[in-house]
């Protein structure tokens, strides 16, 4: 009955409007001031898309509406609960988990459309149009890879699965084999096999397996790229389903999310000086480099919290370099307290953030924001790199490879060419680290053995607290 006053044109225009709202939601993120308004616009866009769809329902019987409200309430409650409960340090896992939801919904919607094509107006003379069938198959494929890939990423980030790359023998052969079977099954469906439902199921399962195989060989520290890529996939899955459903909001949103994820992946790859291809192929940090691990004999200067406090108190400018270790130790608040004490003494303190610090793009910024660090104090790599030469102290907390001078000087280093934060130029480098171990890239950091470096071997949080107490 509602559908009578919603003309096709009005419906399409409103979906377009919700697409525009989504564009504005992303646009808002150009500055923290406009970001919140942007988020509200995004919510409004979603509300518009939802309302329009409800008003166009074919079966708007009370029982059906109750069912829809029930589904949304269940999902809404779970989503709300998760969003309130998740710790800021766990944001990468959260994004991976949400991504998997998006991928799964794409798969399920494609299945729903496949099972009742008439409902979506996809039938021509009792058969699903070839173009729609191709779109559904693509939707299943991309959606399933997004789902299983994100689940693996989630497990690795949450520590439920070892984050080291898992390299199966012949993994490329297996992947290509699976992909070939998917292609054959798709072909059989398209030429009108009577077993189309079984084939559809086979394709779904194999796509899930493929997603798993693609992500398990990728190591923990390449996660920023993986998450961005999966984000991009979830967008493209939505866009493909948008083609099936002829829905403007989905097509526009899918394209936006797809390009957003792709750009983030690109930024992350550039920041690591790795090709997108090499990240996706995985296995980084796994090459044991034969038995040539030379036992390090150079002397290392190890200091205490009191030594560090003394050096910091006598500095006039300090640059903090946070990394994943800060997130693991949840040290952002203790760090902020330490910095506040230094600032009270008139010491200039700024933060330098490498694009791949942490496990996802912008991870460090969120943690520092949580600790109430003014964002004017936070600088990107290119903005601050030249300042290290004038700084008295570079305080490296939980970062390692992003400060390794080998990236500039050693052509044989696996991270050679990666842009690094040039902390070695500071007068003194204070390096907070749990032990003298190597970073994820499996390489030693020359910084440890420099004259002007003092290692502070402790948990990042405990060390910050001890230094605070000592100041």
């Amino acid at each position: 009955m509602f559908s009578d006053f919603m003309s096709v044109d009005l419906t399409a225009s409103l979906y377009l409007l919700s697409g525009v709202f989504f564009i504005l939601a992303i646009r808002g993120l150009s500055s923290p001031e406009t970001a919140r308004i942007g988020n509200y616009l995004g919510m409004s866009g979603m509300l518009i898309a939802f309302t329009v769809t409800i008003l166009n329902l074919e079966d708007n019987s009370l029982s059906n509406l109750i069912l829809i409200v029930a589904g949304i309430s269940i999902g809404g409650l779970i989503g709300t609960f998760l969003s309130k409960k998740v710790a800021m340090t766990d944001m990468p896992q959260m994004v991976a988990a949400l991504n998997s939801m998006g991928g799964m919904s794409a798969v399920l919607v494609a299945w729903a459309a496949f099972l009742s094509p008439a409902a979506f107006g996809l039938e021509i003379n009792g058969y699903i149009a070839t173009a729609s069938m191709v779109e559904m198959l693509l939707g299943i494929f991309v959606g399933a890879i997004t789902f299983s890939g994100s689940v693996i990423a989630f497990l690795k980030l949450q520590g439920l699965m070892k984050s080291a790359p898992v390299i199966l023998p012949l993994r490329h052969v297996i992947s290509i084999g699976i992909f070939s079977i998917i292609l054959v099954c798709s072909y059989l469906i398209l030429i009108g096999s009577q077993y189309d439902q079984v084939l559809f199921l086979v394709i779904s399962i194999l796509s899930l397996a493929l997603g798993l195989l693609l992500i398990i060989p990728i190591g923990g520290a390449d996660m920023p790229v993986v998450i961005a890529v999966l984000n991009s996939y979830s967008g493209f899955a939505a866009a493909i389903i948008g083609f099936t459903l002829n829905n403007l909001a989905l097509v526009i949103t899918g394209a936006l999310v797809g390009s957003s994820g792709a750009i983030l992946s690109y930024i992350m790859c550039v920041a690591m000086n790795r090709s997108f291809f090499s990240v996706i192929m995985g296995g980084f940090g796994d090459e044991g480099v034969g038995g040539e691990q030379v036992k390090e004999t150079r002397p290392v200067k190890i200091g205490s919290a009191d030594d560090a406090a003394f050096i910091l108190k006598n500095a006039s400018s300090v640059i903090i370099v946070p990394g994943y270790g800060m997130a693991v130790a949840r040290a952002q608040n203790s760090l902020k307290e330490m910095v506040d004490k230094l600032k009270e003494m008139g010491i200039k303190v700024t933060y330098a953030i490498h694009p791949v610090a942490g496990r996802m793009p912008g991870h460090m910024n969120v943690l520092l924001a949580e600790a109430d660090v003014p964002y004017d104090d936070i600088y990107e790599l290119t903005e601050i790199n030249s300042d290290f030469a004038q700084a008295d102290v570079a305080f490296v907390i939980g970062a390692n490879d992003v400060t390794n001078p080998a990236a500039k000087s050693d052509p044989n280093s696996p991270i050679f060419g990666m842009p690094i934060l040039e902390v070695e130029n500071a007068k003194t480098v204070l390096f907070v680290k749990r032990s003298l171990g190597i970073g994820y890239a499996g390489i030693d950091n020359d910084l440890f053995y420099q004259e002007n470096t003092m290692m502070l071997l402790d948990d990042a949080k405990k060390m910050s607290e001890d230094i605070s107490a000592s100041i």
């Binding site: 988020n39 329902l57 309130k84 009742s116 409902a119």
Partner: protein
């Protein structure tokens, strides 16, 4: 002569990719995490597909399965929407506090 839906939506898709490209480059790196969570939330607009599937008179086994499947799609998409927008909001609130204090 009507334009085919594929070309029509294809054109919009291509243009939206360009819009996305320029809009995303304008996002400040400090907000890349909220960018990911909000794009997560909006990609769950796929919920419209789930609702459409729920809202059709089902017939036969396939119809019933289709309805069950779309019910689950509805739940997953809702988790994504609520989780995505609310966690984004939570993060952005943290950026807000400091604007007030420092400016």
């Amino acid at each position: 002569m009507d334009i085919s839906p594929l070309v029509y939506y294809g054109s919009i898709f291509v243009l939206a990719i360009f819009v996305g490209y320029y809009v995303v480059w304008s996002v400040t790196p400090a907000l890349h995490t909220p960018l990911m969570s909000v794009t997560n939330a909006i990609s769950a607009v796929i919920i419209v597909g789930a609702i459409i599937a729920m809202g059709t008179e089902s017939s036969g086994t396939a119809g019933t399965i289709s309805k069950v499947v779309s019910f689950f799609a509805l739940i997953f998409a809702s988790i994504n929407i609520f989780g995505g927008f609310l966690v984004t909001q939570r993060m952005l609130e943290m950026y807000k506090k400091k604007v007030k204090k420092d400016v």
